[in-house]
Amino acid sequence: MDFNDTPEEAAFRAEARAWLESNAERKGPDDAPPDLLGERTDSETVQRAQDWQKKKAEASWACLTWPKEVGGRGATAIQSVIWKQEESKFRTPPDIFGIGTGMCGPTIMTHGRDEQKKRWLPSLVTGEEIWCQLFSEPSAGSDLAGLRTSAVRDGEDWTVNGQKIWTTGAQFSDWGILVTRSDPNATKHAGLTYFVVDMHSPGVEIRPITQINGGQGFNEVFFNDVRIPDANRLGEVGDGWRVAITTLMNERASIGGGGGAGSVNELMKLAADTELNGKPAIEDSAVRQRIAEFYVRSKGLQFTGNRTLTALSRGTTPGPEASLGKLVGGKLIQDMAAFGIELEGFCGSLTQEGLAPQDATWQNRYLGIPGLRIAGGTDEVLRNIIAERVLRLPPEQRLDKGVPFRDVPTGPPSK
């Protein structure tokens, strides 16, 4: 049991680091931490990200685990993690290609025809074209297969109408992966068809969603008679759910996370700097108890990440147990933020720059974190996943099985 690389891992790490040293600048101690919560990405940032992605692709650092023939490096999963660990120590633009390289690409590799792979994969690897994911709908969130965006065949094309939501990066994407309902008379999962859609098509309208913290990391995407050539279909007509599952299986919770320990440091600093009844708050027994609890949970998450990395290092694919990190971590950060705010007493409400303690870190996190507890699987969905897929408990009773989709209730009965 040790935290060190194997000799092979160490060699790979050295190689990665060497390349990074010659192509990027190391972060300094005062560099801002990465933004967890998704802010607006302007066009200058997009360009910088594309430049960096191109540079990486040229040296085969862009899609490490992909086969070499499609622009990858043929690396192992643990090597991919080592690369990410090293890259995160350097000043690089935000990764706006994660959805493309992590979800769209693998789906195309699995379900795409040769000409589709040739058309889309190379520019995806090099970052010349940016991708987004169009799955969730206003009334199909946790119940993704309840989606209603319709696709109707019309000659060589399909006509698509409907609305998608929570689409990250839609505003600067060139392509999107899209699941539609092509047959409302089939049962829920049977009537879906999967497409790649050109985001510049007429009839695609993108509206940013403002989050409660004022950020705009997501979009609504409206489809008004958007035409998609049948050539852009992935998989068979009616087989969209199976294709979507491939995408979702690649939507892995981030591995080796548990950045919470860093936050506990900030909380300790706050408690050291805040005077409570004439003494530093960190000397207050109640404050110590709470911070200790946060610390133990956050280290528990970090070491759970280490256990997952160990499994990866041994060639095992981590499974649904990765849900733990998001479930526990989301609530933990929310609790810590609430505690940080309260520790500041009367001043806990301040968000004014220059006046709010620690630049209103906790207030901003308190406003940001509810999104993390919802996006990419709510706490409730994660508990279901753990219960059903890790613990193998019986599934929820399903009322929508075996019923034509158009007959599944979608709202209260009208009176």
Binding site: E342, F346, L350, T378, P412
Partner: protein, 385 residues
């Protein structure tokens, strides 16, 4: 046993609710949140016209001469509406400070203006992070002038005057002093807070003219601050209770209308049970609030304990209701467009506005120990139930 409000009080509450439903839908709160307006002026005028601002102010000072039970039910409705007005600052704090500690001259000068809403008052105690009461005050009052910085001051940018906690010239003791905020030596600026639907300010006093509150000379400013915070805590607890109840009811309604997997999400046990738990917390808060209202309206010796109970219980219920509201609304709950964040923000603002819950828990134990010591020494005299 009559542990409930009277029919008249309930009627008053109903009237307030009806008025606010019409004149203070959540769009009014949102307008203040999204604009530079510090508060909803029309709503403030309306509240004044209905006599709410002077509910507990005697008629001789221009008030309605009702009591604190009446004020409590109005506070609950103010909270339910997330009304964006300086009600807490002007009514629970400034007016109460004058009523309890002001000289007759001061009462005659200020109370009628407060009751009519012509003047807005506030209470300025906060100076630095970690502070939850009158401890560590550096603002000083001597020679008729006040110097120091108060931050955050709720409604400090719009109030006409403030009751300020300051070190008085006399030893290290504290006093409450009255100062005009429009006058000389006062600089103030609106600053950002976690809930922009209520205004928050930083106020800098540089030899600002001021006078002691009351005529008995420098009083026990720390004790007076505690007493004021107790009274305000009970009333604000009703605001928090109203906010929690509204958030809860909206969530109940939303989860019944929102369908997933062919059924309302409120039919999933995970959600049902959380709603049941949240209901319990709100009911407990309501019961503790009633206790607070009883103690306040009877000026009972248990007021100190009851205030802690109300504040702790209601802060918890409102915070939790806000958190659960967003979570159970799901994705839309996290959008600016939906109203969940109005509750989430207000809950957090109010939970620290009179000192954080931890400070009230600590204070509660101190008071319980005092009360037990007093009861023990009274035991000799024996008491029948």
């Amino acid at each position: 046993m009559n542990f409930d409000f009277s029919e008249d009080q309930k009627l008053l509450q109903k009237t307030a609710k009806d008025y606010l439903e019409e004149h203070s839908p959540l769009t009014v709160c949102r307008e203040v949140l999204e604009s530079d307006a510090p508060y909803a002026r029309d709503l403030w005028k309306g509240a004044a016209q209905l006599g709410w601002l002077g509910t507990a102010i005697p008629e001789e000072y221009g008030g309605a001469g009702f009591g604190y039970l009446e004020l409590a039910v109005i506070a609950e409705e103010i909270g339910r509406a997330l009304a964006p007005i300086p009600f807490a600052s002007s009514v629970y704090l400034a007016s109460e400070a004058l009523l309890r500690f002001g000289s007759d001259t001061q009462k005659q000068k200020y109370l009628p203006e407060l009751a009519s809403g012509e003047w807005i008052g506030t209470f300025a105690v906060a100076e630095r992070p970690g502070q939850n009461g009158a401890e560590g005050i550096e603002t000083s009052f001597a020679g008729g002038v006040l110097s120091g910085t108060k931050v955050p001051v709720l409604d400090g940018d719009v109030a006409n005057f403030a009751v300020v906690v300051a070190r008085s010239g006399h030893g290290s003791g504290l006093s409450l002093v009255l100062t005009d905020l429009d006058g000389d030596g006062v600089e103030r600026e609106a600053i950002k807070s976690i809930d922009p639907s209520r205004s928050t300010a930083r106020v800098v006093f540089s030899k600002a003219p001021a006078e002691l509150l009351g005529e008995d000379g420098p009083g026990d400013g720390a004790g007076q601050t505690d007493a004021l915070l107790d009274r305000a805590a009970v009333l604000m607890a009703f605001e928090q209770l109203g906010g929690a109840a509204r958030a809860f009811e909206s969530t109940l309604e939303f989860t019944q209308g929102r369908y997933a997997f062919g059924r309302p999400i409120a039919s999933f046990q995970a959600i049902k049970h959380r709603l049941a738990d949240l209901w319990c917390e709100i009911e407990l808060a309501r019961s503790n609030c009633y206790y607070g209202a009883w103690a306040l309206s009877n000026e009972d010796s248990e007021l100190g304990i009851a205030a802690c109970n109300s504040r702790i219980s209601s802060s918890h219920a409102f915070d939790l209701a806000g958190v659960e509201m967003i979570q159970l609304y799901g994705g839309v709950g996290y959008t600016w467009e939906y109203d969940c964040h109005l509750f989430y923000r207000r809950a957090k603002l109010l939970s620290v506005a009179l000192g954080n819950p931890a400070s009230w828990k600590d204070k509660l134990i101190t008071r319980l120990l005092e009360s037990r010591a007093a009861a023990a020494s009274a035991e000799a005299r024996n008491t029948d139930d």
